[in-house]
Subunit: 391 residues, 2 copies
Amino acid sequence: MTRSQRTPHDGAGPAPGPGSPHPGARANGQASAAGSPLGLHRVLEPSGVLPQAAWRLDPRAAIWPDEVRIAVTRLNLDAASFRQLREAHDDKPDKIRAAVLEIVRTRGKMQNPVTGSGGMLTGTVEEAGPDSPLGLAAGDKIATLVSLSLTPLAITDGLARWDGRSEQVPCEGHAILFGRSIAAKLPDDLPAELALSVLDVCGAPALTHRVVASCGASQPVVAIIGAAGKSGSLAAAAAREAGAARIIGVVPHDAEAQLLREAGPQLVDEVVIADARNPVAVSRAIAAAGGPAHVTVVCVDVPGCEGGAILATAQGGTVIFFSMATSFTAAALGAEGVAADVTMLVGNGYVPGHAQLALDLIRARSAVRAIFQRRIDEHGSPNHGSPSQGE
Amino acid sequence: MTRSQRTPHDGAGPAPGPGSPHPGARANGQASAAGSPLGLHRVLEPSGVLPQAAWRLDPRAAIWPDEVRIAVTRLNLDAASFRQLREAHDDKPDKIRAAVLEIVRTRGKMQNPVTGSGGMLTGTVEEAGPDSPLGLAAGDKIATLVSLSLTPLAITDGLARWDGRSEQVPCEGHAILFGRSIAAKLPDDLPAELALSVLDVCGAPALTHRVVASCGASQPVVAIIGAAGKSGSLAAAAAREAGAARIIGVVPHDAEAQLLREAGPQLVDEVVIADARNPVAVSRAIAAAGGPAHVTVVCVDVPGCEGGAILATAQGGTVIFFSMATSFTAAALGAEGVAADVTMLVGNGYVPGHAQLALDLIRARSAVRAIFQRRIDEHGSPNHGSPSQGE
């Protein structure tokens, strides 16, 4: 989009209040000028950056032709963000509530200025622009799969129903999805909490499925490091569906091994216990269980797992890093240091069809569903930090 | 390798002095017990970690059957390491020299304990074990392509010929290559400085070649961010050889653009000037030059280039990150935030045949050679920090 394509108000002067249609809006509340599918037209300052990098977005309710407006029902704050808010405000609910309101009022989005992180939200589609490619219609119940840190948001109820004690924030207001935003319809047949938990990590099974399927008829051995977690168990199920010949699940201790063993061969063929941070231990354990792996998937959010994953992978194989604790340099130099000819993928949280694939897996695989249910029961509500990175 | 396969002295007690054969050594100076291709048998403390992570290695001169011993002629200290040494020792050559000697004496390798980094070395093969897979023979002049931070090293001349003022360290002593180490023969037909400069970044052209070639007959558009640098110009030449239909070179300012224009269409088809840290600017510039790219290669070592590379790449395309300033989370979340279905590769510095490919490119492409020569003349000796990551 060139500057001339923007509406007159873009990046010039203060944003109109939420709900006030901008001058270019049609009678039906849609903007007449072409918007950017990336939401660049919603960036108020600094100009020219992407919405995630922006200090302030324009959360006006009137939508551009390719946008969708959501009536928000709940925010799920990112764990790092909520922790920071609690610590900065002495665990006092009133202060925490005021802080969130102030962030959203001044920034036009819920992006914690200290942590930079956001979270996700659920709500109901109020209006979908005629050019929106998201396939949503008014009345659809959805969860956003892009971060709150780039989602225009206005809150209208003062967060009166939030106790300030949990990252689950009941909320009234509206949010905007761009042409290239990602949202998933919440299914009718699954409890909302379970569905959210699945959508939270749905990038991992989708990319795992793609990589394993691309091995074709070669019957790959797949190792999942952190196989008893949410992203790990879904990745294992996806690997099975994509044609893995043998799936090796790596877990840190016996309690997690027991979880996998109870799941049975529906999930993994071999369960091994090893410290993912110990390259020699991990690679030996995987080799003893039928490795080396042709595809290794890292789903544990602890630093230092790069070397083990690389060593456990056959020459010519692939490592997919879903852990947000992955160090780019440790991976690059680690592979070089052992002359490992492995393809190393940054776990992109977006693969087309990722939400549907993950929800279908949880429906079809009772073993995976049992693992999710157990984690939900143990930890209370799932946390929705990064929408599709592993836990 | 299991513990029982180690020689009696491994990990037990102080290492014998360099040159003293260990008890398992044969008459020809080779160890009789099987070694680990990763060099685990040379790790003295802590036990069980990889040589790079070890505090202390065993630099004994007697080699295991799959090892190679090098008579060292020169160390090239990593830039970060040398800077730290200079600052810590007030730029005093005697103190810096003493510090390097002390590190090598106590650690059995030249790994700066503060920066963790090493460098590379050049030398002549003294002895190659009968089981070494490296294809080296006594008398070969070589450069190591694995880091000094994992290479057993002993210094015998007190660094008497080093003035302590440059990261180029004339040196006598020996170093050990493992079965999975990487070394390149120094060619007779190229100046040593040029060859080292090329070997320093040879991972980038090799992986670029592989990815572009895998696009098959689809005539890919390739964008090289940082195309006038060493790794960038070699990557461009490799993309051309692999069948790129159009190569777009991105540079930060006019002086670099001029360099590329002088190189002519041998290197890139289009030269664009854009700030790699500005996603909108980079993606628009590449689109205007014939993009989006099917393959985007990031070769500039400044932080914040992830978003631009992702946005400049077509859906279904590939981004290769060679910059060591790449942030894993910025890449993962950045792609997700704009629903970019792009494959993101961690630029592995090792691809089989990488040294030969890069040296052949520099021989065949006078335009690339001119860029290297210019950079060598400008900056003096090239720095050899990470052997194959971009500058």
